[in-house]
């Protein structure tokens, strides 16, 4: 394929979805597994009659499945409404339960808002002290920094398994060993890693772990919080005795069934799918760095999610790139301030030392099941002329020494 000029991009071809870090399409096999639980087996799992018992059996089977997949015990699996709820419950639940023991939490500046905003609230409203251990230019946390940050007051460490914006995989097992030695509960937000990287809670040494169904081809609106037995955790949502009195509310039976099915499918195909995505990702990274002057990969070159490619391009705004890509039928995302509506550049890139306008020109392409080599080649052909055209409009380009 030759480069496609922007004017000719309004093609009628299907949308090339490269935003799997945002969400995924529900797998048809997952939909099929869920359907009976909407209309036929609609009982409340707490009800005593057979219809209720059927629903109970289904969610306990799902709990068993998920527990086995991540090396946990069924009673350590809590079903939640999403990754954000799991993160919130982990932080608040442990903080509330341990508040008399100490009020110090260790985390990183590159966590999802579900973590950072919860930490900010615990700090501002409840008197907790938060230490943000730094990351290096690739977005990696140094476990030694975590060890050094620990005090007598530390009641929780939370470090994400893999970063959503830059794809970097953190040294969770090493941090887990440190946390265990010091007897401090360790949470990891594994929302981006779920179904994409192997997860074994003992190998990782984590006490709490968050998952979100819609990142691995289950529907939106369902998640998991793994809580190791013995971990102090107060419920933040109270009511009925569901989820071992740790998360009240009638269980979302069809979605829980679907999520277990989806995670099962993801791990059943991981040994083929991960290397396939990695090949596509590497082709995308190499092609973009080669064809676009001034392009820079963000995140670690190899220690990154198998389908995750992220960049910054000097002199152009990320939102403008996305609007152009959308016209070329490519769905992608950016951390650009003007696109996020937050009005501030990405704190993740900032923590990695990518600041100011450079951080505004970010692009994330996250690959998944339906992406093919042809999709990658298509993006490699449409993206360079888009960047070139946007740079023609840009007052920053002559200063940036791009060529």
């Amino acid at each position: 394929m030759k480069p496609i000029p922007p004017e000719e991009m309004m093609s009628t071809r299907r949308v090339i979805y490269m935003d799997h870090s945002a969400t995924t399409a529900v797998d048809p096999r997952v939909v099929e597994a869920m359907l009976p639980y909407f209309t036929e087996r609609y009982g409340n799992p707490s009800s005593l009659y057979r219809l209720g018992a059927e629903a109970r059996t289904a969610i306990e089977a799902a709990r068993q499945t998920i527990a086995e997949l991540i090396g946990a015990r069924p009673k350590e699996i809590l079903f939640t409404s999403c990754g954000t709820e799991s993160d919130n419950l982990a932080l608040r639940g442990v903080a509330w339960a341990s508040r008399h023991k100490g009020r110090h939490i260790i985390t990183t500046p590159i966590e999802h808002h579900a973590i950072t905003h919860t930490c900010e609230q615990l700090a501002h409203e409840f008197g907790f002290r938060i230490t943000y251990v730094p990351v290096d230019g690739d977005g990696l946390v140094d476990p030694e920094d975590v060890a050094r940050a620990i005090t007598e007051e530390t009641i929780l460490i939370s470090v994400m398994y893999a970063n959503n914006e830059v794809g970097t995989i953190e040294p969770i097992a090493e941090i887990g060993r440190i946390a265990r030695e010091r007897g401090i509960p360790f949470h990891t937000d594994a929302v981006q890693a779920g179904g994409q990287l192997p997860i074994n809670v003992d190998a990782l040494g984590v006490d709490l772990l968050s998952l979100s169904g819609h990142k691995f081809y289950a529907p939106k609106g369902v998640g998991v919080l793994y809580v190791r037995e013995g971990t102090p955790l107060l419920p933040t949502q109270t009511g009925g005795g569901q989820e071992f009195h740790r998360r009240a509310g009638t269980e979302n039976v069809p979605y829980i069934v679907g999520m277990a099915k989806a995670l099962e499918l993801a791990y059943a195909s991981l040994s083929e799918e991960a290397p396939r995505l990695q090949r596509l990702r590497d082709r995308l990274i190499e092609g973009i760095l080669e064809r676009i002057p001034g392009a820079r990969l963000t995140g670690h070159r190899t220690q990154r999610l198998p389908g995750h490619a992220s960049f910054v391009f000097g002199g152009v705004d990320g939102e403008a790139i996305l609007v152009y890509l959308d016209r070329a039928n490519v769905a992608a995302s950016t951390g650009s301030a003007c696109a996020s509506g937050e009005g501030t550049p990405s704190p993740v890139l900032e923590a990695m030392g990518i600041t100011g306008r450079q951080a505004l020109g970010s692009l994330r392409l996250s690959l998944g099941r339906e992406n093919t080599e042809e999709d990658v080649e298509y993006v490699l052909n449409v993206l360079p002329p888009i960047i070139e055209k946007l740079r023609e409009f840009s007052p920053l380009c002559p200063d940036m020494a791009l060529r």
Partner: protein
């Protein structure tokens, strides 16, 4: 999120570029989102004979610059300064979080006219004539 007119201006922006030895020039930045715009004016008598701009920013910022330049080109200074960022935003149908992008275009025009008056004090309108100062809502 964007109307077709925004996409059309964004993909085919009018008057992009630079003018050598302009009569008025300005570069302005948005404190809201880091967008940046520069504008070049060639003025003949009372009239803005030519206008060129370059924008670093989102689709709304680029479309606002394009539309503003299209309206302003060929107008007298007095006519051009009647244009407001609200008119640009309305014509483009910009959503609320993007309103500040239209402000940048008009701030740039006013700053470039100010530059022109510095070079040509005799051209500055006397009080009572149309003001060249930004009339409203400047967040840029």
């Amino acid at each position: 999120m964007y109307k077709e007119i925004v996409i059309e201006h964004f993909m085919n922006p009018r008057n992009v570029g630079v003018i050598e030895n302009p009569d008025g020039y300005a570069q302005v930045e948005s404190s809201v989102c880091g967008d940046m715009m520069e504008i070049y004016l060639r003025i003949e008598g009372e009239r803005i004979a030519d206008i060129k701009f370059r924008t670093f920013g989102c689709a709304a910022a680029i479309a606002s610059s394009s539309l503003a330049s299209e309206i302003i080109k060929g107008k007298t200074i007095a006519e051009a300064t009647q244009l407001t960022d609200a008119q640009i935003a309305e014509e483009l149908g910009l959503p609320e979080p993007k309103l500040h992008c239209s402000v940048l275009a008009m701030s740039a025009l006013h700053a470039a006219l100010e530059d022109y008056y510095k070079r040509h004090p005799e051209a500055r309108p006397q009080s009572g004539e149309a003001p060249a100062a930004p009339a409203q809502g400047e967040h840029a």
